[in-house]
């Protein structure tokens, strides 16, 4: 664990009619932390409290050793070294794109780590600078919104579901930029999302929110592999593995990714050998067998050992966590097949993985 100087201590109590927020968190001061939960879980309220846009009567916020809020201190939003990306880009309609970008940059002390030019380059918006916001597409607007937040040189970037207002095509357009942010920024990012896919792609840490409370928190891989995660993910239950591209089979257009515990074959996405990637394996794509299966269309078969078993949302289903080398995989089985195989902790099994999603 990092020392206290490099972390974010956030403790808030909000009491509104029909909604309460009650959290006491200690967030890492680097990487992307996802505030993840269904709508109404309080994740956006928590983000707004951190930004100072919402004032919890009872709150304490210490950012890397500096107090932003306690019983006596209240730092107003415009004095906090934050960058904030709203769900809708919310560009100022009376200013050009460059005017929007410079609005915050002019007012910041310039001590920030990301300059205006770097932000323009990072988000690929150099060709839009002279235009007015209402002539841009939704995806372009949101890229400008992100660049505008970065151009103030923030010490932390807060993002409130930046993709939620966009259709699938626009999302695909922006995700690569967000992945670049993740790779190239050295400031912490707090990212609010209800999409397991975005979280799996972008987050390093996760705080699961439900009913105004943080119900689970920890590193992404570890937390997603928990069988007792108290929020329902349905079809999205699965794990994320850190891996490296180890080999490309040009003849069959496949790539081999190696993770701590074994290797998996997946479709080749033109990712070069040696590149660090994330691999998402959904529980519904993992099946278990007692013996090495004979001829099968499933190419990926790993040796593992049942670690724990838990009930799933549906009464006919179980989630089984399997230790494969140093990694954990989760499989979704019917209760009947689990009974027939005699699935129990400690049982050696063969793990068949039908498909994996490779994320750069």
């Amino acid at each position: 664990m990092d020392n206290i100087e490099a972390r974010i201590e956030a403790k808030f109590k909000l009491d509104w009619p029909g909604f309460t927020l009650d959290v006491d968190l200690n967030l890492p001061g680097r990487g992307v932390t996802a505030l993840f939960g269904h709508s109404g879980s309080g994740k956006t309220s928590l983000l707004r409290c951190i930004a100072g846009l919402e004032r919890a009567s009872c709150g304490r916020l210490v950012f890397k050793g500096k107090i932003w809020q306690d019983e006596t201190i209240w730092l107003p939003t415009h004095r906090r070294p934050i960058g904030y990306v709203f769900q809708e880009a919310s560009l100022f309609p009376h200013l050009s794109i460059l005017g929007n970008l410079r609005y915050g940059q002019k007012r910041s002390d310039g001590a920030g780590r990301v300059g205006l030019d770097a932000a323009i380059e990072l988000l690929g918006i150099g060709h839009l600078l002279e235009r007015k916001p209402d002539t841009l597409s939704g995806g372009e607007r949101q890229r400008v919104g992100i660049a505008r937040a970065l151009a103030v040189g923030p010490e932390i970037l807060l993002m409130d579901e930046p993709l939620a207002a966009l259709d699938l095509k626009r999302k695909q357009e922006i995700l690569p930029y967000l992945e670049r942010l993740h790779d190239e920024l050295d400031i912490p990012v707090i990212y609010v999302s209800h999409s397991p896919d975005e979280v799996a792609r972008l987050a390093d840490h996760i705080v699961a929110m439900d009913g105004g409370r943080a119900v689970a928190a920890g590193p992404l891989g570890e937390t997603l592999a928990r069988l007792d995660l108290p929020i329902r993910l349905g079809e999205d239950v699965g794990v994320v593995l850190d891996a490296t591209v180890g080999e490309i089979d040009a003849e069959w257009h496949l790539a081999r990714v190696d993770f701590a515990g074994g290797s998996l074959w997946t479709r080749d996405h033109a990712v070069p050998v040696g590149k660090h990637v994330r691999v998402r394996v959904l529980a519904r794509d993992v099946s278990l067998a007692l013996d090495e299966p004979g001829m099968s269309s499933i190419q990926n078969c790993l040796g593992g050992c049942v670690e724990s078993v838990a009930a799933d949302d549906h009464p006919g289903l179980l989630l089984v966590r399997v230790q494969v080398g140093a990694s954990l995989l989760v499989a979704r089985l019917t209760r009947r097949s689990a009974a027939q195989l005699g699935i129990a902790p400690g049982l050696p099994v063969k793990v068949q993985v039908k498909s994996v999603a490779l994320m750069e």
Binding site: L53, H78, I82, G83, F86, E88, H94, Y103, G104
Partner: protein, 225 residues
């Protein structure tokens, strides 16, 4: 065409309306901002007081202002103590009366414009390091510009059209308080119908042009939006 006294009355009217509009821009803007943003319980009463001139007969408003500004009224005693004498039947007395009379025509369009901006641009500005005062000048004013134009035009035109309050406070002193509407009244009283016609036509055309400009502007902004 128009007589010298007609031109004098028109010039006086324009001066009165112009000064009143400037004063109300300065006074009405903070009132409208407060009414648009406040959640205090007395926001309702304040809003009602601001709107009173809309429904009050001008003679009632004029009567109270006359008492307040008269030698025994609180405001009159203040002006006397300051060595300014009393204000009724002076140009500046008329300016003050007009400012009360036209207050809602400034405040209400501005309040609507401020409310239409919503919370979000203010929050965005705060996350971009702008203090509340900075935000008001760099975001609120530009975004509320159409509201300011509407409020300014309405206030000016409404002051030009004032009659009852002028009679109560200003009387009918040529070059000091005799504005165009009073001049027309004088013409009619003196049976100078031809003079009354000319000046009335000027007022009619002016009022029509103002409203025409406003309505075409409004439909244009809607098309653009």
């Amino acid at each position: 065409m128009l007589t010298d006294s007609d031109l004098q009355a028109i010039w006086l009217t324009i001066r009165l309306a112009g000064i009143t509009t400037l004063i109300l821009l300065l006074i009405g803007t903070p009132i409208a901002w407060w009414l648009a943003r406040s959640r205090a319980w007395w926001k309702g009463p304040v809003g009602a007081v601001v709107a009173l001139p809309l429904v009050l007969p001008p003679s009632v408003l004029g009567f109270y202002l006359l008492l307040a500004m008269g030698p025994n009224g609180p405001f009159g005693q203040l002006t006397q103590w300051l060595g300014l004498g009393t204000l009724p039947f002076t140009f500046w007395g008329l300016v003050i009366a007009s400012s009360f009379y036209s207050l809602p025509f400034m405040v209400q369009p501005l309040q609507n414009a401020f409310e239409g901006i919503g919370e979000r641009p203010l929050e965005v500005a705060a996350t971009l390091r702008a203090s509340p005062v900075d935000t008001f000048f760099s975001v609120v004013l530009p975004l509320a510009k159409p509201g300011f134009v509407t409020a300014g035009i309405l206030t000016f035109a409404h002051t030009v059209g004032e009659f009852g309050v002028v009679l109560m406070i200003g009387g009918n002193i040529p070059g000091v308080t005799r504005v165009a509407s009073v001049q027309i009244y004088d013409h009619v009283e003196a049976m100078e119908y031809a003079d009354a016609h000319r000046l009335a036509a000027v007022m009619l055309v002016f009022s029509f042009c103002v409203l025409l400009a406003m309505y075409t502007r409004r439909s244009n902004t809607r098309k653009a939006a």
